[in-house]
C-alpha cells in the first residue's frame, strides 16, 4: 500500500469515517448499467442458486433455482439469465459510429487506415464483489461450450438456445474485467475501495456491507460501528441482517432456512409425481408452487440488501465528476465490446479453454501497459492521487525560479533551455533521470541535470519546442510557474510485436492446434 493510502486509513480509524482517496471518479459509469447479484449453492461449484438482475434499481428481476442440483432447473435458470442479459447487451450492438483502425494491407504488406464501425456506447455489468466477477467467469466457462439441440441434435442434454451465446459474452466480460482501468465489468467493492479508504484491512473491505458502512455510515454512527454491525448483526432467528454479497451464502441461512425450503419443494415434487388423480394433482401443484415461492422469497431476502448496496455504490460514485481521461479508457472498452460483437457476428467459435502462448503473452502485455497507463492517467486527472505519487518520490511540484536559454551543439541548434526549479518534495532524482509534465495534454520531457548549492534542481527541457532555433511560444515555462513534474511517463509505448500464433517458435511448443474445441464431456457429476 502506498504511504498516502496508509495515512488515509489511519485517518479513517481516527475519525471513524472513510477518507477520500480520489477527488474525481476514475472509472466510467454507464447511465444504464446492468447490475447482477448472483448466488451459488454451497458445495456445488457452478450450481447457481439465484440472482437479481436488471437495470432498474426499483425493479430487479429475480431468478431462482428451487432445487439447484436439478440439471433441468439449472438450465432453466441459465436460459432465463440469457433472456435477462442478452437483450441488454444486444441493445448496444447496432448503434455505431464510424472510426478508423490501422490494418495491414494483405497485398502490399503496408499499414493502411481502414474505416470500421465502433459501437457508440457499450453495456456495463456491475457485480457486488470480486468473487462475483469470478462467478461471471465461471458461468461463462460453464456455458460457452454447451451445445444446443440445433448445433448438435445428438447431444444428450441440449442447452437452451441462447445459453452458449451468453457464455461467450460473460467470458468476454470476465476477461476484459482483468484489464486494469477497464469498466465493462465492475465490482462495487473495487469501485468503493478505489475512491475511499476505510479504517479496516483490505481483506475486510471485501465485505460490501461493511465497506459501504464505512463510506456511507448512517447519521450519528461511526463507520467502524456500522461496519461491525454489518458484519455480525443477526436477527432473532440467527440470520445476518446484512447477508454476504455472494455468490456464497451464509451457512446459517443454508442450514436453517434454505435446506428445509428446498426439502419442502422436493417433497412436493415427489408427491406430485405420484399423484393418483387430477384433483390430487391440482392440489399438489398448488403446494409445489407454494414451495417454489417460499424458496424465491428466501433468496430475495438474501439478495435484496446486496442489490440495494450495489445501487447505493453506483449513486455514491455518480456524485463524483469523472476524471478527464476516463472517457478515453471507456473508448477502449467500446473497442473491446465492438470487437467481440464482430467475432460473434462472424460466426467464430467460442473462446478456447486455454489461451495459446501468443494470446497469453499479448494479453499480459496489454494489461501491463494498461496498468502503467492507468496509474499515470489517474495521477494526471487527480491532484490527490498525484499527491500520493509526490509523497512516494515519483513526482514533484516545483516553482520555476530561473530560465536559462541554451542550445544543442549541432549545425542546426535546437533549444535546450535550462530550468532552475525549487521544490519541497523529495523526488528520487539522479543524473539524466527523465521527468515529464503535461503541456496542453501532451507530455513534455526534461532531464535532471544537477542540484544547486541552495537545493534547487536544474532541469534541461528536451522536446515540444518546435523546429525553429527559438522555442515555440508557450512551450518553455516562465519564471514563477508552478509545475508538477512526474518521473513516470504519461503515455505508454506500444509493446513489441509478438509472432502470429501460427508462427509460435520451438521454444514455446510450436504452433497451437487449430481444430475446434470439443464441447465439455458429460461426467457422472452432471447426472445427479
Amino acid at each position: 500500500m502506498s504511504l498516502i493510502g496508509t495515512l488515509a486509513r489511519l485517518e479513517a480509524v481516527e475519525s471513524g469515517h472513510a477518507q477520500p482517496l480520489a477527488t474525481v471518479r476514475h472509472r466510467h459509469l454507464s447511465d444504464r448499467p446492468l447490475v447482477l447479484v448472483p448466488l451459488t449453492t454451497a458445495g456445488e461449484a457452478g450450481a447457481p442458486l439465484g440472482a437479481l438482475v436488471g437495470t432498474d434499481p426499483e425493479r430487479p428481476r429475480l431468478l431462482a433455482v428451487p432445487q439447484p442440483r436439478d440439471r433441468e432447473l439449472r438450465f432453466g435458470f441459465l436460459a432465463e439469465l440469457a433472456d435477462a442479459v442478452l437483450p441488454y447487451l444486444e441493445g448496444y450492438v447496432s448503434e455505431v459510429e464510424p472510426a478508423e483502425q490501422s490494418a495491414t494491407d494483405p497485398e502490399t504488406g503496408k499499414k493502411v487506415k481502414v474505416e470500421v464501425e465502433l459501437c457508440a456506447d457499450a453495456p456495463q455489468l456491475i457485480v457486488p464483489s470480486r468473487a462475483g466477477a469470478e462467478y461471471v467467469r465461471l458461468l461463462g466457462r460453464s456455458m460457452r461450450f454447451r451445445r444446443t439441440a440445433e448445433q448438435d441434435p445428438e447431444t444428450p442434454f441440449p442447452a437452451p438456445p441462447r445459453v452458449p451465446l451468453l457464455g461467450r459474452w460473460l467470458t468476454h466480460y470476465g476477461e476484459r474485467g482483468r484489464v486494469p482501468g477497464s469498466a465493462l465489468l465492475l465490482t462495487a467493492t473495487e469501485l468503493l475501495g478505489r475512491h475511499w479508504a476505510t479504517g479496516q484491512s483490505s481483506l475486510e473491505d471485501q465485505h460490501l456491507g461493511a465497506l459501504l458502512a464505512w463510506v456511507d455510515a448512517p447519521a450519528g454512527e461511526t463507520g467502524a460501528a456500522a461496519a461491525l454491525r454489518a458484519e455480525l448483526d443477526r436477527d432473532d432467528e440467527g440470520q445476518l441482517r446484512c447477508p454476504p454479497a455472494g455468490p456464497a451464502t451464509d451457512p446459517a441461512f443454508d442450514n436453517k432456512l434454505l435446506a428445509p425450503a428446498v426439502e419442502r419443494y422436493d417433497r412436493a415434487r415427489q408427491l406430485l409425481a405420484e399423484a393418483a388423480d387430477g384433483e390430487a394433482a391440482d392440489r399438489l401443484l398448488g403446494e409445489l408452487h407454494g414451495a417454489e415461492e417460499a424458496v424465491r422469497r428466501l433468496l430475495l431476502s438474501q439478495l435484496r440488501p446486496t442489490w440495494d448496496a450495489v445501487w447505493r455504490t453506483v449513486g455514491l460514485l455518480r456524485e463524483l465528476a469523472p476524471g478527464a481521461r476516463v472517457a478515453e479508457r471507456w473508448t477502449r472498452d467500446r473497442w473491446s465490446f465492438t470487437g467481440h460483437r464482430d467475432r460473434v457476428a462472424a460466426g467464430e467459435p467460442p473462446q478456447p479453454r486455454r489461451d495459446d502462448a501468443v494470446t497469453a503473452a499479448r494479453k499480459l502485455a496489454a494489461r501491463e501497459s494498461a496498468q502503467a497507463q492507468l496509474e499515470a492517467q489517474e495521477a494526471l486527472d487527480d491532484p490527490l492521487v498525484m499527491a500520493g505519487r509526490r509523497l512516494a518520490g515519483e513526482a514533484f511540484a516545483a516553482q520555476v525560479v530561473e530560465v536559462t536559454m541554451a542550445w544543442t551543439e549541432s549545425k542546426r541548434p535546437s533549444p535546450r533551455p535550462l530550468l532552475t526549479v525549487r521544490t519541497d518534495d523529495t523526488p528520487h532524482l539522479a543524473e539524466r533521470v527523465k521527468v515529464f509534465r503535461s503541456l496542453d495534454g501532451k507530455p513534455q520531457s526534461a532531464e535532471f541535470v544537477r542540484y544547486e548549492e541552495d537545493g534547487s534542481a536544474v532541469l534541461r527541457l528536451l522536446d515540444r519546442m518546435g523546429r525553429a532555433r527559438e522555442p515555440a511560444e508557450g512551450s518553455v515555462p516562465e519564471k514563477g510557474d508552478l509545475i508538477t513534474w512526474t518521473l513516470f511517463e504519461h503515455e505508454q509505448r506500444t509493446g513489441a510485436g509478438l509472432p502470429e500464433p501460427e508462427d509460435t517458435p520451438w521454444t514455446h511448443g510450436g504452433p497451437p492446434r487449430t481444430d475446434p474445441e470439443s464441447p465439455d464431456p458429460v461426467t457422472p457429476e452432471d447426472l445427479l
Binding site: R178, P180, R354, D355, D356, A357, V358, A360, A361, L364, A365, R367, E368, A370, Q371, A372, A392, G393, T426, H428, R432, L462, A496, G497, L498, P499, D503, T504, P505, W506, T507, H508, G509
Partner: protein, 455 residues
C-alpha cells in the same frame, strides 16, 4: 540429471582443483554448443561463476566457427559490457551493437572501438559475425534472415513472453543464467496462466525446458566471486541440490583495517565481518516504516566507518593489499525508497561513490564489501515479496570479501509467525528451497556473527 556436469564435490580424497573443475564444465558446454545436436543448451551459473567469461568465450568460438551469432542480454548496461569484453578479448572481430532510437542509447566508450558498428536498424548490421542487443530491442526486429545461433544471457531473469518475441530470430541457442536470482515478475496478475507450460510471466528457461525437456543442461561448479566463507552458506541455502564451491581457499582473501576499532557497534561488526566474512549488526526489535531511520543510519555509519578505517583487501588477483575505495562497496536494499533513504543518509555523512541499489538492480554485479539492509528488518509481516528466495540470494552473494547485514532483532520470530501461504498452483513446479526456509538458513548462520547494538 545425467547430463549435469560434475558439481565439483571433493571425490575420493583428491584435492579439489577449482580451475580444472570449471574448465571441464566449460569444455562440455562448448562441445554441446558447437557440435551438439540439440537446438538449445542451458547453463546454470551460480553467483560469480564466470558466466560472462563463458558468454564471451562461447561467442568467440561460435564466431570463429563461422556461425552467425546474435546475443540477447536483458539491459543496455549488460549489452555494452559484453561488447567491451568481446573487444578486449578479440579487438579485430567486427561486432554489431543494435540499439534503440532513444537519445544516448549506448555507452559512449563504444565510440572508441573501430570494429564495433552501431545502428538502430538490424538491417544495417546484417552480415556481421556477432550482433548484440537487449531482448526488448530484438523483439522489434522483423523481416530479417534468422541467425544460426543465439546466446541468451541472464535467461532466468528473462520472461517467457520476451523469449517468445525473439525466438523466431534464431535456429539454435545457448541459454545462460543464474536460477537462484530474482524471478521475473509482472505488475499485473498472471495467475490465470499459472501452470501452463508457456505461462508468459514465468522465466524463459522454465518455458523452454517444459517444451524441450531433452535439452542438455550444464552447471558451472565454481564461484570465483564468493569467498570461502560465503560459498558454503549461499550454496547450502539457495542451491541445496546443485552445490558449488568457492574458487579460493580460506586464507586467499583477507580484509584488514588501518585504524583500530573504537568499540562502537559498526566497528565491531566490521571487525567480525573482516574476520569471518559475515557480520550481523542487530538493532533492538521494533516495528518500523520501510525507511526505518535508525536502520538506514546504521547502514550509512557502517559504510562511513569502512572508509574511515582505511580498509584494505588482499586477494588472489593482486599481489598486495588494495585499498577499499567507495567504488568497491555496495549497499543493497529491498525497496527503492530504502535505497533513496540510504543515499540521503550517506550524503549526510559525506560519503559519495558508493553504489546503493535494490536487489533487482544489483543482480549480476560484484563488490568487495556489501552492506545489506535485511528485507524483513522491522516488518510486521513477511509477504511473498520479502520472502522471495532470489531477493535474499542476490543481496547475500554480491561480495568478494565480506557482507554486513543490518537488521532489527526478531526476524526469526517473524518468520515463524508467517509461514508461506502462497496458493499452490496446479502444474507449477514448486521451487526449492522456498524463501522461508532460505531466510531461516541465512539467519541461523548470521546469528553466529551477531553484534547487538543500540544506536
Amino acid at each position: 540429471m545425467t547430463l549435469m556436469s560434475d558439481p565439483g564435490r571433493r571425490t575420493g580424497g583428491e584435492p579439489f582443483d577449482p580451475g580444472a573443475a570449471a574448465a571441464r564444465a566449460t569444455g562440455a558446454i562448448l562441445a554441446d554448443t558447437l557440435r551438439g545436436e540439440a537446438r538449445g543448451v542451458v547453463v546454470d551459473s551460480p553467483p560469480g561463476a564466470g558466466k560472462s567469461t563463458l558468454v564471451v568465450r562461447a561467442a568467440l568460438e561460435l564466431a570463429a566457427a563461422g556461425r552467425s551469432l546474435m546475443v540477447v542480454a536483458q539491459t543496455n548496461a549488460q549489452v555494452d559490457d559484453l561488447v567491451l569484453r568481446l573487444a578486449e578479448k578479440q579487438p579485430e572481430l567486427p561486432v554489431g551493437r543494435l540499439h534503440s532510437s532513444d537519445a544516448d542509447p549506448y555507452d559512449p566508450a563504444l565510440n572508441e572501438l573501430e570494429q564495433v558498428r552501431k545502428s538502430a536498424k538490424a538491417g544495417d548490421l546484417a552480415g556481421l559475425p556477432v550482433v548484440i542487443s537487449t531482448a526488448a530491442k530484438w523483439a522489434h526486429v522483423r523481416n530479417v534472415d534468422p541467425w544460426e545461433h543465439a546466446i541468451v544471457d541472464e535467461a532466468y531473469q528473462m520472461r517467457s513472453d520476451a523469449l517468445l518475441a525473439v525466438a523466431g530470430l534464431f535456429e539454435r541457442a545457448l541459454f545462460v543464467g543464474d536460477p537462484g536470482q530474482l524471478d521475473p515478475f509482472s505488475v499485473v496478475g498472471a495467475d490465470q496462466w499459472a501452470g501452463l507450460s508457456y505461462d508468459p510471466s514465468a522465466s524463459a528457461v522454465s518455458t523452454l525446458l517444459a517444451h524441450n525437456p531433452e535439452l542438455p543442461q550444464h552447471r558451472l561448479p565454481v564461484s570465483w566471486r564468493l569467498p570461502a566463507s560465503a560459498a558454503p552458506l549461499v550454496s547450502g541455502a539457495f542451491y541445496p541440490y546443485t552445490p558449488f564451491r568457492s574458487g579460493t581457499g580460506a586464507g586467499d582473501r583477507r580484509l584488514s583495517f588501518g585504524v583500530p576499532s573504537d568499540g562502537s557497534g559498526p566497528d565491531r561488526v566490521l571487525d567480525e565481518a573482516a574476520e569471518s566474512g559475515w557480520g550481523l549488526l542487530e538493532l533492538p526489535a521494533r516495528r518500523t516504516p520501510r525507511t526505518d531511520p535508525e536502520a538506514v543510519r546504521a547502514v550509512a555509519l557502517v559504510v562511513r566507518r569502512l572508509l574511515d578505517r582505511g580498509g584494505a583487501a588482499v586477494s588472489e588477483r593482486e599481489p598486495g593489499p588494495v585499498p577499499l575505495t567507495p567504488g568497491r562497496i555496495a549497499v543493497g536494499t529491498a525497496h527503492r525508497d530504502q535505497a533513496a533513504a540510504v543515499r540521503a543518509a550517506l550524503a549526510e555523512l559525506g560519503v559519495s561513490g558508493v553504489t546503493v541499489d535494490t536487489a533487482n538492480r544489483l543482480q549480476g554485479r560484484e563488490y568487495d564489501v556489501t552492506v545489506v539492509l535485511h528485507p524483513l528488518s522491522g516488518r510486521p509481516d513477511a509477504t511473498a515479496f520479502h520472502l522471495e528466495t532470489g531477493r535474499l540470494c542476490v543481496l547475500a552473494s554480491r561480495h568478494r570479501h565480506a557482507c554486513v547485514v543490518v537488521c532489527r532483532a526478531g526476524v526469526a520470530e517473524l518468520l515463524d509467525e508467517h509461514p508461506s501461504t502462497e496458493p499452490v498452483q496446479l502444474g507449477v513446479t514448486v521451487k526449492f528451497p522456498d524463501g522461508w526456509e532460505a531466510n531461516h538458513t541465512v539467519l541461523a548462520h548470521l546469528a553466529e556473527h551477531r553484534v547487538p547494538w543500540r544506536p
